[in-house]
């Protein structure tokens, strides 16, 4: 591990990589602050740029920086103007905004920055320990187990989509898998489902789909409903006094430690991302707090702010575990990262650590650096950065649309792709109206070819689908997938009181 660490350090500590980290964090923070733009859209917009860098470690480091930068930026707008830029920072506004309202905005930002820093750093530490362990187990996997793993991943994502939503989420997953079969499959070398359209021969572009599923509907939502981009205030009213007292530091220390660890493990689970981690972190801390502290929750408790902030950052890091070790994304955001890596000819999986250790360790080291940069960035610069919250929507929306178009165009250099983007974007917006989750569709689309390849390989090896019951581990995984899908449906019948729509946005 030491060798890997040194290699990671060597990768990251060059001017170019440090620029990537700083740039990624800055861009992420800026855009994450804008209400309505989630990390998935930001990363989707950034992908063409990352891919054209040509260097996989640089691309991944940049995108990872954008990812946690966006979560960080989201918390700033949650605290200052009660308008969470991203879903995973909604919980931060519960106590962050009351704090800011009572004139302690500076204190709230400091608590958020420190909690995020600790969460992210803890997460990176745990990632360093657990990823190699998981990777060494994953090396024993055959294509049959991979097939099983992917089915588990896809089912888990659907299962976490929310009560009563499982069938809809699964439907979206299948749609994604079906879209992935369009074009020429590597295995059979014959075009499928192209309806004779030449432009579909090479399949749908992943950037096109990512933009159409996230960036475009979000922009359209901003257009349709002007109150969404209504930033409330200028956000610069007196952010002074960034200090926190020793007593408050003592108060949040156990909270931050607990939530960093809990958040990390929630992030590792496929389907449960930073959003669930932050809500759960908030709920857990409120439940275990003393009576008088419980009273404070929701009215400006530093504990209530520290909990979701450390949990969501740790979960972001945690979600890199399945991505880097199994090559299976657990969330929409990591699915987009996976797509970017595939476009750069890197196949994440257990071999990544062995074959391309500079990517693996580079990303981990960049996370430490990124968290440090965010801490430095967030504290002194926040009053100035918060000014971006005042960008008028008349400029914001055209620019989002333009960058969406540009991203698709420079990825494919094909104007037909832009028409496909618009059509898919309209479909995605309609799906969003009816509350269909879109992340499973994209994850299905990205995992589709791999799922089919592993399935086909296992069928070829065993001459049929016997592998399902002849390999106990595959059978176990498929049973697990089955349980994951049916458990929420079963439990939903008994208790129908879960909040809806929590799972989108990370």
């Amino acid at each position: 591990m030491l060798e890997g660490l040194l290699q990671g350090l060597a990768t990251v500590f060059s001017i170019k990589m440090i620029l990537m980290v700083v740039g990624g964090c800055l861009i992420g923070t800026f855009i994450g602050m804008l209400p309505g733009l989630g990390p998935m859209s930001i990363i989707a917009i950034m992908i063409p740029i990352a891919i054209s860098l040509g260097d996989p470690s640089a691309a991944l480091i940049l995108l990872a920086g954008v990812y946690y930068g966006a979560i960080f930026g989201g918390s700033t707008s949650s605290i200052l103007i009660n308008a969470p830029g991203v879903a995973s920072t909604v919980a931060s506004s519960f106590d962050g905004f009351p704090l800011a309202r009572s004139g302690k905005a500076g204190k709230a930002l400091t608590v958020a920055a420190i909690s995020s820093f600790v969460g992210g750093t803890f997460g990176a530490l745990l990632l360093m320990v657990f990823a190699p362990m998981l990777a060494s187990v994953a090396l024993l996997f055959h294509s049959a187990e991979y097939f099983g793993m992917m089915v588990v991943g896809l089912s888990a994502i659907a299962a976490f989509a929310g009560t009563g939503q499982v069938a809809k989420a699964l439907m979206m997953t299948v749609t994604g898998l079906m879209l992935a079969t369009v074009g020429e499959a590597a295995l059979f070398n014959a075009p499928r489902f192209t309806a004779g359209i030449m432009d579909l021969q090479s399949g749908l572009g992943f950037i096109t789909l990512a933009m159409a599923m996230f960036a475009l509907p979000e922009a359209l939502y901003l257009v349709l409903d002007p109150t969404r981009s209504n930033t409330g205030g200028s956000g610069d009213d007196a952010i002074k006094n960034l200090r926190i007292s020793r007593q408050e530091a003592k108060q949040i220390t156990p909270v931050v430690t607990r939530q960093s660890i809990q958040g990390f493990f929630i992030g590792v689970l496929p389907g449960a991302g930073a959003t669930i981690a932050s809500f759960l972190g908030y709920a857990v801390e409120r439940n275990i707090a003393s009576k008088e502290e419980q009273e404070q929750f929701g009215k400006g408790s530093v504990k209530g702010l520290a909990a979701p902030e450390s949990a969501n950052n740790a979960a972001c890091t945690g979600s890199f575990v399945p991505l880097l070790t199994l090559g299976i994304p657990g969330s929409g955001t990591t699915a987009i990262l996976l797509g970017a890596l595939i476009a750069l000819n890197v196949t994440p999986g257990p071999r990544l650590m062995i074959d391309q250790p500079e990517i693996f360790w580079g990303v981990i080291i960049s996370m430490y650096l990124g968290n440090l940069i965010l801490l430095i960035l967030n504290l002194p610069l926040i009053p100035y950065i918060a000014k971006i919250l005042t960008v008028p929507r008349n400029y914001l929306i055209p620019f989002i649309l333009f960058f969406t178009l540009m991203g698709v165009y420079i990825g494919q250099n094909n104007a037909t792709e832009l028409i496909i983007l618009v059509i898919l974007g309209i479909i995605a917006t309609i799906l969003r109206f009816a509350d269909y989750p879109l992340a499973p569709l994209l994850i299905g689309f990205i995992l589709g070819p791999m799922l089919e390849d592993n399935f086909a390989r296992s069928v070829q090896l065993y001459g049929g689908i016997e592998f399902i019951w002849q390999r106990p581990m595959t059978l176990g995984l498929l049973v697990l997938a089955f349980v994951l899908v049916f458990l929420p449906t079963y439990r939903a019948r008994r208790a129908r009181i879960r909040a809806q729509g929590i799972a989108d946005g990370d």
């Binding site: 054209s52 009563g164 069938a167 809809k168 699964l170 439907m171 299948v174 898998l177 079906m178 079969t181 295995l187 059979f188 014959a190 499928r192 489902f193 922009a219 359209l220 939502y221 257009v223 349709l224 409903d225 002007p226 008028p392 929507r393 008349n394 400029y395 929306i397 055209p398 620019f399 649309l401 333009f402 178009l405 540009m406 165009y409 420079i410 250099n413 104007a415 037909t416 832009l418 028409i419 983007l421 618009v422 974007g425 309209i426 309609i430 799906l431 109206f433 009816a434 509350d435 269909y436 089919e452 399935f455 086909a456 069928v459 070829q460 001459g463 049929g464 009181i497 809806q500 729509g501």
Partner: protein, 164 residues
């Protein structure tokens, strides 16, 4: 019928077409030598279409849950007319226009026109801000994409450039 079910119904129809293609059209076109392989190009799509049909049917016939209330940030599509639907459609139209104009008219002019028209559509009337910003964006992005990233973007209209 709610939008939810219309979507499920359309998905069901898509699955049926997809399944028909997988089960009949694709297998009929399969070369004889490939028929000996345990897995055909249509095998995976067959599984998918079956799954899709089952799921679409479940969504189609699930009774609507009553306790569901639209969350604050959501758009109520039943009152779509109360939102800025015209603006949204206009912007989509501009995107399509941009797609068609990009090649013949060139990147610089298309981008400029797109940015100006879309912010005009959103209600911006401060020309002295809009025009410089649009010009600057078009030129800077073109420079970055072409010169820094090395991806060719035809900058000017067809009659001003040779070839490309």
């Amino acid at each position: 019928m709610t939008l939810n079910r219309w979507i499920a119904l359309s998905f069901l129809i898509i699955c049926l077409i997809y399944g028909y293609t997988a089960y009949f059209v694709m297998d009929a076109a399969l070369p004889p030598f490939m028929k000996r392989s345990p897995i055909w190009p249509s095998s995976f799509p067959k599984v998918l279409s079956a799954l899709g049909i089952i799921l679409a049917t479940i969504v189609l016939f699930t009774p609507r849950s009553k306790d569901k209330e639209p969350s604050a940030g959501d758009i109520n599509y039943r009152k779509l007319g109360e939102y800025n639907l015209g603006q949204a459609l206009g912007l989509l139209g501009l995107m399509v226009l941009y797609a068609f104009s990009l090649r013949p008219i060139g990147f610089l002019i298309s981008t400029f026109v797109f940015l100006v028209l879309s912010s005009y559509l959103l209600g911006e009337r401060k020309w002295h801000f809009m025009i410089p910003i649009a010009v600057l964006t078009a030129v800077v992005v073109w420079y970055l994409v072409q010169q820094v990233l090395g991806i060719y973007l035809r900058p000017l209209p067809w009659f001003l450039t040779s070839g490309g």
